[in-house]
């Protein structure tokens, strides 16, 4: 999914209008962005979030009186500068932005290459500016050149183009959305109405096959025979943000509710429940490593802790490192070590630096990421995708759940000769429904009502649930701004217990009924003795629910799958706490979705 914008008639405001428009389309993708301005054709584009483009724009102060723009969620071709839109012809006379897929691009590309055209990106889109340039070279006028080029295309597209010194924007719709905004002496184009809703509410929804010519005089809608057609202008009244959130109050809540779907996608086609095998096709042949080092930051680091604990249980020495520390204080490694970087965006600068350090020392690297062809995916020897879909809320939710499943799949792929995997596969297959059952019945909101005005919140767990405790605390502080800390349960008495009071609820993650669970029950009593209320996040297998003051229940499952479920309860707690406190949940202060600086 990508977003395109365009505007003409706004004079010196053009750049701001385009950038603001792209910002409201970020839900359609945010891993590269660009703009092109006329009448003197100027193109600026940049991999990374829109802010990266905004910096380039600030530095270059481009000028123009009309232009087009694009924000991209990469599916084919990595999200780097050269694949960012707009794309141009060889002479830089034509700039094009495109959303959709041009199915016959390979055929057109080889035809153009045979004529001597040099391509400078991996995208399907780039054939369009070259086609237009070829028509122009044949001497036809700009508009005819655009129509002739579009006539050649098969597939789905919304396209907008500008041509040097032609004070016009040309656009076409076939299968991908494109709307016109009608302003006072100006015209807007976009994939979706939010891009220009702050400037005009008068909108034309184009039909497939229609094309647009917009210039200083206004706009004309044409049919695919290039004949002008009458169109109706409608007045819309929705606010920009609502569209992408499907009616949820926040992206975070939407993404929490998307977890059953995300987990299903992560797991789909990767396990054979009949013969009990797990296969990650992306990894191919990778020998069993002597040791595994995970590098990651923030929430992904908590997934790394879980992954390392899982591999250690399987007999593989494994550690999780904070990427920012790893790059500067690299631990020793042998050549048989595999270094795994976990990064949602695949662009986290600290994680990239750590992976590069590992690579420079000659070991195999692997990226576990949500973003196809991201920098991490391209630079590492292997990439495994968690397939969670775009995550827009700054606080990671569904991607953490999918990272945990990804760690399981990776561990089983890497380590040979495991016992019967069917129980694990069964529990991973059941995760979507187990998560759904929590979403259907969670008591997290009631816990917030009861304890939402406390001094601080502590989270404890043992084994893989340490990762859940740390993640629960991070989520809580990120979005509620309340003081929260997570600890391995046994560490409490070595210091943090001094902080525990009747006004500091303790969330104890207790799953199963093994030694770790039993010991954690002891820790629950420890904090209760200091007057702290305890909320057990538990599957009911141990006595945690009976001992604790409150319970957040999760379905019974395997020891590997339980942390995913416990974490969902804590996500809901943090969300409802932040909501009750009126925090800006999707955009917490000082934080950014993907941290691309070290």
């Amino acid at each position: 999914m990508c977003g395109i914008v365009g505007c003409i008639g706004r004079g010196d405001d053009t750049v701001n209008v385009l950038i603001d428009g792209l910002r409201s389309l970020e839900y359609r993708g945010y891993d590269s962005a660009g703009i092109a301005l006329g009448p003197t054709l100027t193109v600026l584009r940049k991999a990374g979030e829109l802010d990266a483009l905004a910096e380039v724009v600030d530095a270059n102060e481009p000028t123009g009186t009309y232009g087009i723009g694009h924000t991209r969620w990469s599916t084919h071709g990595p999200p780097n500068d050269r694949n960012a839109h707009p794309h141009t012809d060889e002479n830089g006379r034509v700039a094009v932005v495109h959303n959709g897929i041009i199915e016959n691009y390979a055929e057109i590309k080889s035809e153009l290459e045979a004529e001597g055209v040099t391509f400078s990106s991996d995208t399907d889109t780039e054939v369009v500016p070259h086609l237009i340039a070829r028509e122009l070279a044949d001497g036809v006028d700009a508009e005819t050149a655009f129509h002739q080029a579009v006539d050649r295309l098969d597939g789905s597209y919304a396209i907008a183009a500008i041509i040097d010194s032609t004070e016009t924007i040309f656009a076409a719709r076939q299968g991908s959305p494109l709307v016109i905004g009608v302003g006072d002496n100006c015209t807007y184009l976009a994939s979706d109405v939010p891009a220009f809703i702050e400037h005009t509410r008068d909108v034309i929804f184009l039909e497939d096959g229609q094309r647009v010519r917009a210039d200083a005089e206004g706009y004309t809608v044409l049919d695919d025979n290039r004949e002008p057609v009458e169109v109706d202008i409608e007045t819309v009244s929705y606010t920009a943000e609502e569209t992408g959130k499907s009616g949820y109050d926040h992206y975070m809540l939407k993404e929490i509710h998307e977890q059953p779907t995300a987990l299903r996608q992560c797991f789909s086609g990767r396990a054979d429940a009949l013969d009990g095998t797990i296969t990650l096709e992306e990894v191919g042949e990778i020998p069993q490593p002597d040791a595994v080092q995970f590098v990651a930051c923030g929430t992904s680091y908590h997934a790394a802790l879980y992954g390392a604990a899982t591999l250690r249980e399987m007999g593989i020495p494994a550690e999780a490192y904070l990427a920012s520390e790893y790059a500067l204080s690299p631990p020793p490694l042998s050549l048989g070590t595999l270094v795994v970087g976990i990064t949602q965006s695949g662009e986290t600068a600290d994680t990239l630096a750590a992976l590069r350090d590992a690579k420079s020392r000659g070991v195999t690297t692997l990226a576990l990421t949500n973003t196809v062809n991201s920098t991490a995916a391209r630079e590492c020897d292997h990439a495994v995708y968690i397939r969670a879909g775009p995550e827009i809320g700054v606080a990671a939710t569904k991607t953490f759940s999918s990272q945990l499943v990804g760690c399981n799949l990776l561990a089983e792929e890497l380590v040979e000769g495991q016992l019967d995997l069917r129980p694990l596969i069964e529990s991973l297959r059941n995760l979507p429904d187990d998560v759904q059952s929590i979403l259907d019945s969670s008591a997290a909101e009631a816990i917030v009502e009861e304890y939402g005005d406390s001094d601080a919140y502590f989270f404890i767990g043992r084994g893989k649930n340490v990762a859940v405790a740390l993640e629960g605390a991070l989520k809580c502080k990120e979005i509620s701004y309340e003081h929260a800390e997570g600890f391995p349960a046994g560490e409490l008495k070595h210091g943090p217990l001094a902080l525990v009071t009747p006004d500091t609820p303790v969330f104890a993650v207790v799953t199963g009924d093994d030694k770790r669970a039993q010991k954690t029950l002891g820790n629950i009593k420890e904090v209760q003795a200091r007057g702290a209320p305890v909320i057990a996040v538990t599957d009911g297998e141990s006595d945690a629910a009976e001992i604790a003051d409150e319970t957040l229940e999760i379905p019974e499952t395997t020891e590997r799958a339980a942390p995913v479920l416990a974490n969902v309860q804590l996500q809901l707690f943090s969300y409802h706490l932040a909501d009750a406190l009126g925090r800006p949940i999707d955009k917490p202060r000082n934080l950014a979705k993907s941290v691309t600086v070290e």
């Binding site: 839900y27 929804f205 929705y238 569209t243 959130k245 499907s246 009616g247 509710h257 086609g269 759904q436």
Partner: protein, 407 residues
């Protein structure tokens, strides 16, 4: 909120879909989701409705959601098949007219209105879209025996002359298929109507338009496929009808009537008897015989040696080995132990103190029912969500949500 877009050809291209109602008569299957999200084959009813609209050329869809709205939102998101979806919340379900009013804001052009819980052929939508020109409203009219449930209609040429909610004479006659086209004037009409019985049905507004000499209401007669599931057992006939038509998502194997998603795993020693659909990541173990008329949902499991025919097994449900089930509806996330038996109807089903005689129903398991080994469902049994049926129990009649049946 957003507007309903009109096109150069003036046919409505927007639709309002009513998906806010629970579907009380489908309880206990609707404990966690509204009726439009119940399975038709292996996909929600609403998914079929949206497909019909989009196939008929609708490119802007407004969903009125209410009961368990998040289930609709998280399933479909902001767009479906590249068509933008705008959600409108109806906090209290006060009838279809009230639901439509929730989607009023900013509407300036003609639009369609359809029910999100009834399966319609896209040609019905197309016919209403095309017919709606001069009349104040148009509605699709189908002939069948269901007039008593959906409102009988009389036509004079192409004009509707009477609508009667509960016709006195039964039998085969014309009835309202719940596919409408309106101009924005309908909102003003709705506002003039007094609310009776705490509800504002859209048919009251239609009646007002019929009574008003200045307006006509066009009836669009069609004989294309239309089907509603009123009771849980109707999900079986709905699934059968869809399977017969091949209205399922996965591709047909070798051009036959076994539809299997490419991520599903079917053991080479299992037998599929068409028509049958097996959705994504479902597993059919060795020796199982599945079909005819079996809908196996995404990530569902059919255990070794199980024999299933005429069943709807929803997403994530696992059916134990050596189960024999016929005319069974199982909701999401059920865990059914081995050697389970649901032999099929007919049965007399009692619902809300009403007896439905001779229903072809083996039984209904709602979401996340846990069934022990060798349990038996007597024909017509209805088991509520999260109930636990112990080993070897024989269950008949109704089992309440969350209850445990030990013997």
């Amino acid at each position: 909120m957003s507007t309903f877009s009109a096109q150069a050809d003036s046919r409505p291209s927007s639709a309002v879909v009513l998906a806010a109602g629970e579907g009380i008569r489908l309880r206990p299957l609707t404990a966690n989701r509204p009726k439009p999200m119940l399975p038709a084959g292996t996909r929600p009813i609403l998914e079929h409705v949206l497909n019909a609209l989009i196939d008929a050329g609708i490119n802007n869809i407004h969903l009125v959601v209410g009961y368990q709205a998040n289930r609709v939102r998280s399933h479909f998101g902001a767009t479906y098949r590249d068509v933008p979806l705008t959600y409108h919340t109806q906090t209290n379900q006060l009838g279809s007219g009230h639901a439509l009013l929730q989607a009023r804001e900013g509407s300036t052009d003609s639009f369609l209105l359809v029910n999100g819980d009834q399966i319609i052929d896209s040609r019905i939508v197309e016919a209403v879209r095309t017919t709606h020109t001069d009349a104040a409203a148009a509605l699709a009219v189908v002939e069948g025996p269901q007039a008593a449930d959906y409102g009988a209609v009389t036509l004079d040429g192409s004009e509707i002359t009477t609508l009667s909610e509960q016709p006195t004479s039964g039998g085969f006659r014309l009835f309202n298929a719940g596919v409408y086209a309106f101009t924005p004037e309908i909102f003003e009409t709705l506002e003039t109507i007094s609310v009776d019985r705490g509800e504002l049905p859209i048919t009251d507004a239609l009646q007002a338009l019929i009574d008003d000499k200045n307006h006509t209401v066009a009836g669009v007669r069609t004989d294309h496929f239309w089907m509603d599931a009123t009771h849980a057992w109707d999900l079986l006939s709905l699934s059968r009808a869809l399977l017969r038509r091949g209205w399922v998502d996965p591709p047909a194997i070798d051009g036959g009537d076994c539809y299997v998603d490419e991520t599903a795993k079917v053991h080479p020693d299992a037998t599929l008897v068409g028509p049958v659909v097996v959705d994504s990541d479902a597993v059919i173990e060795a020796g199982a015989v599945v079909g005819p008329y079996a809908a196996i949902g995404a990530s569902a499991t059919v255990g070794a040696g199980a024999v299933l025919r005429d069943v709807v097994i929803d997403t994530d449900t696992s059916v134990g080995p050596n189960t024999t089930a016929s005319e069974l509806v199982a909701g999401q996330g059920c865990a059914i132990g081995g050697a389970f038996t649901a032999a099929g109807g007919p049965a007399d089903v009692v619902l809300e103190e009403q007896v439905y005689p001779d229903v072809d129903l083996g039984g209904v398991l709602s979401d996340r029912v846990e069934v022990g080994g060798a349990a038996t469902l007597e024909p017509g049994a209805l088991v509520g969500p999260d109930a636990v049926l112990g080993d070897g129990v024989v269950v008949s009649g109704q089992v309440d949500a969350g209850s445990e049946v030990v013997r």
